[in-house]
């Protein structure tokens, strides 16, 4: 599949801002890109639309380094934020990133839900990225990828 489209691809982007730029400038007609930013430019009136179909979902994690000085405060913050679906919902109103706490959707309108990648309707059409596998294979895959790109 990739082999077939390779020669038609204008740019294999690396920086997220780049792909949005290229879409809005009309540099490309079609792109794979980050949902959050897509939502934002769409809201701002850019002539783009997008769909989560076959999207890949990446999760971010809260991490406390071992031996952190403010471990207690950090734990308290996570408990305050992560355990509270209302706050998740509020967060997603400010930046269109999907909440991982599914109860958060109870506090949202349907229109709001439709924009978010982790909303049940969107989530079932997507894959989720296997961080463990990538952790093991990143170097190898990157090399394969580069070799393929340069060919």
């Amino acid at each position: 599949m990739l082999d077939r489209i390779k020669s038609h691809v204008t740019k294999w982007w690396k920086v997220e801002a780049q792909v949005i730029q290229m879409l809005t400038d009309g540099e490309v007609d079609f792109a794979v890109g980050p949902g959050g930013r897509m939502t934002v430019v769409k809201r701002q009136g850019a002539q783009v639309t997008f769909d989560y179909n076959q999207g890949i979902v990446h999760g971010d994690s809260w991490v406390i380094p071992r031996g952190a000085k403010n471990k207690k405060n950090a734990m308290e913050f996570i408990a305050w934020y992560a355990a509270n679906p209302k706050r998740h919902a509020e967060f997603s109103r400010h930046i269109p990133y999907g909440p991982l706490n599914t109860k958060a959707f109870n506090h949202m309108s349907d229109a709001e839900k439709a924009e978010l990648p982790t909303a049940p309707e969107n989530l079932k059409r997507q894959l989720s990225s296997d961080s463990e596998w990538w952790g093991k294979n990143l170097v190898k895959m990157e090399e394969r990828w580069n070799a393929w790109l340069l060919r």
């Binding site: 390779k6 691809v9 204008t10 740019k11 294999w12 690396k14 780049q18 400038d25 009309g26 540099e27 490309v28 990143l138 170097v139 990157e142 090399e143 580069n146 070799a147 790109l149 340069l150």
Partner: protein
């Protein structure tokens, strides 16, 4: 004899004065020396050591590089782009430097300002400016479409052409400045003499000016080539799929893969290859210009 021993003492004193003066001159370059030592030499050593200590002495990063076809591809692209950029800068820069060297001082100063204007904005801004110009719906394509010269946008960017345009633009001053300083030192009566002796303008240039400007050509080319070889932002933004240069590969290894050892090995190899090239070029240049040339 008392006289000769006195003069021996004087001579010794004078030698002392001379030595102190020289010591003082060395003292004055100490800050610059420290600066370079700490900020350039030390990190360089660190990179080399990173490439061979992981965590014990190993050459596997180098082995990896030399077995990886990607490495050779990227090295090839790096030299191709650097060489073409150098040629582009030379072709565009030589006439500019020539004009500047022959213009009246006021005009020369004005031109010099124009050359240096590009240093006033950041590299990133300048590269983005090119994206605005070269894009599919950029200024150039829109203009050509409007005039009717083309019916479909030309691919001016995300390919080798885009990379070269951006890099030549950024590096042109590094070609012009050494060229200009050498050309300015060429005695103008030499060109008069050549014409007087029967050489027309073209042959005077070919036989006299061109060879005398050669040190500037060498210097400018070396400078541009070496800076090009380490370039990364411009090819990343303006280049296409196959235009990956060593700087991009190193950046990838560091920022995406946290592979410091391999990245350091790549950096070291690039450094050594460029250094070898530099030495080889210098050797050729000195052979071409025997002791008679200024």
């Amino acid at each position: 004899m008392p006289g000769s021993s006195a003069s021996a003492v004087t001579a010794a004193l004078l030698r002392g004065v001379e030595r102190r003066e020289e010591a003082r001159r060395w003292l004055l370059v100490l800050p610059a020396g420290l600066f370079v030592g700490v900020l350039l030499f030390f990190p360089l050593l660190r990179i080399v050591s990173l490439s061979v200590w992981d965590p014990i002495f190993t050459l596997r990063h180098y082995g990896h590089a030399f077995q990886d076809p990607v490495f050779y591809r990227v090295l090839g692209v790096t030299f191709k782009v650097s060489l073409l950029t150098t040629v582009g800068c030379l072709v565009l820069g030589y006439p500019v430097a020539h004009l500047m060297a022959h213009a009246r001082p006021a005009v020369a100063n004005f031109l010099m300002t124009l050359v240096l204007v590009s240093f006033w904005t950041s590299l990133l801004v300048r590269t983005y400016a090119w994206m605005v110009l070269l894009g599919r719906r950029g200024v150039i394509n829109n203009l050509l479409l409007a005039v009717g010269l083309i019916s479909e946008p030309l691919p001016l960017m995300y390919n080798l052409f885009g990379v070269l345009v951006g890099m030549v633009h950024v590096l042109l001053p590094f070609m012009i400045l050494p060229l200009y300083s050498v050309m300015k030192g060429i005695d103008r009566s030499l060109m008069l003499a050549a014409q007087n002796l029967g050489a027309g303008p073209f042959r005077s240039f070919l036989w006299v000016f061109l060879p005398l400007s050669f040190p500037g050509v060498t210097g400018g080319c070396l400078l541009v080539f070496m800076i090009s070889a380490g370039y990364f932002i411009t090819p990343a933004l303006l280049g296409g799929r196959t235009d990956m240069m060593m700087g991009q590969l190193i950046e990838l290894e560091v920022s995406q893969l946290l592979n410091w050892g391999y990245a350091s090995a790549l950096a070291t190899i690039l450094f050594v290859v460029v250094a070898l090239l530099f030495l080889a070029y210098r050797r050729v240049a000195t052979l071409r210009l025997p002791s008679g040339a200024s």
